[in-house]
Amino acid sequence: MTDVTCHDLLDGLSDYLDGEASGQLCAEIERHVANCEKCRIVVDTLRKTVTLYHQLPQPLMPAEARERLYKRLDLAEYLPKPK
């Protein structure tokens, strides 16, 4: 088994964080990160970046825009009443 370099690690990082990397690649990345502070920071901050954007609130379509959409499609009479 060859050692992963910093650059090899970058290529496999997305799969690793998604749980889609092979067992061998995971082991190699974890071994590399244990001995490489720079890559440890990249892995940790990338993981945190993913967590942060998954927590972003989803933008909602404004009610007026929805009304105009129904109207443009000639479906105004089918616009559901507000709950």
């Binding site: 997305s14 901050t45 990338l46 970046t49 609130p57 989803q58 379509m61 825009a65 129904y70």
Partner: protein, 204 residues
């Protein structure tokens, strides 16, 4: 709607000109089409126009929908193409700076190695951080952003994202990897300015 038979029944009704079915389709899919359009256009009024044009095109061309993708993916594809055309119409002679270089090419070596992940949770869970993240997503190169929004914010599969964008699954994976690294880099820059006393390493 995830049930294939429900979707087929809805499509059959839309094809038959059933307006109530069109309204059901809008109720189901307009929130996600709007979110995609907003992230692509970066402007509410433009996003609204894209949503309207998407559903107009979809209902008009419903007979061309061959059912290979699901309805949601097909709507995303129309919305993406509509957004792209609007961008090109707005700036026909300009190559956007972020498109000048192919986003699949070049280095993604991290430059900012500020270790912000262990900042206290209250530091990370703030409106200002969320605003910075939104602004970073908006500033992401267009090709990376389209993949990023579909895969990460709308949670489409790699296969569906590839179908919606008309690219290969390998291209989707590459752009997602680059998009994530791009955001990480931006946030590292942001947090290093917020906490300048912490150590910043160089990656070589």
């Amino acid at each position: 709607m995830t049930d294939t038979s429900d979707e087929k029944a809805l499509l059959a009704r839309i094809r038959a000109g059933d307006k109530a079915a069109c309204a059901e389709c809008i109720e189901l899919h307009s929130p996600e089409v709007y979110r995609l359009a907003l992230r692509l256009m970066r402007n509410e009024a433009e996003a609204e126009d894209v949503v309207q044009e998407t559903f107009l095109s979809a209902f008009k061309g419903i007979d061309q929908f061959d059912g290979r993708a699901n309805l949601r993916t097909w709507l995303y594809r129309i919305a993406y193409n509509t957004a792209l055309m609007r961008h090109r119409r707005a700036e026909p002679e300009q190559v956007p700076v972020d498109e000048a270089a192919d986003p699949e090419e070049g280095s993604i070596v991290p430059q900012a190695l500020f270790d912000w992940c262990c900042l206290p949770e209250p530091e990370l869970d703030r409106a200002e951080v969320r605003a910075e993240l939104e602004s970073a997503i908006q500033a992401m190169p267009e090709k990376l952003r389209a993949v990023f929004v579909m895969r990460e914010l709308e949670e489409l599969s790699t296969q569906d994202t590839a179908a919606a964008l008309g690219v290969s699954e390998d291209v989707v994976k590459t752009r997602l990897r680059r998009g994530r690294m791009w955001l990480r880099e931006r946030l590292a820059g942001y947090f290093s300015l917020k906490a300048p006393a912490m150590e910043d390493l160089n990656y070589d």
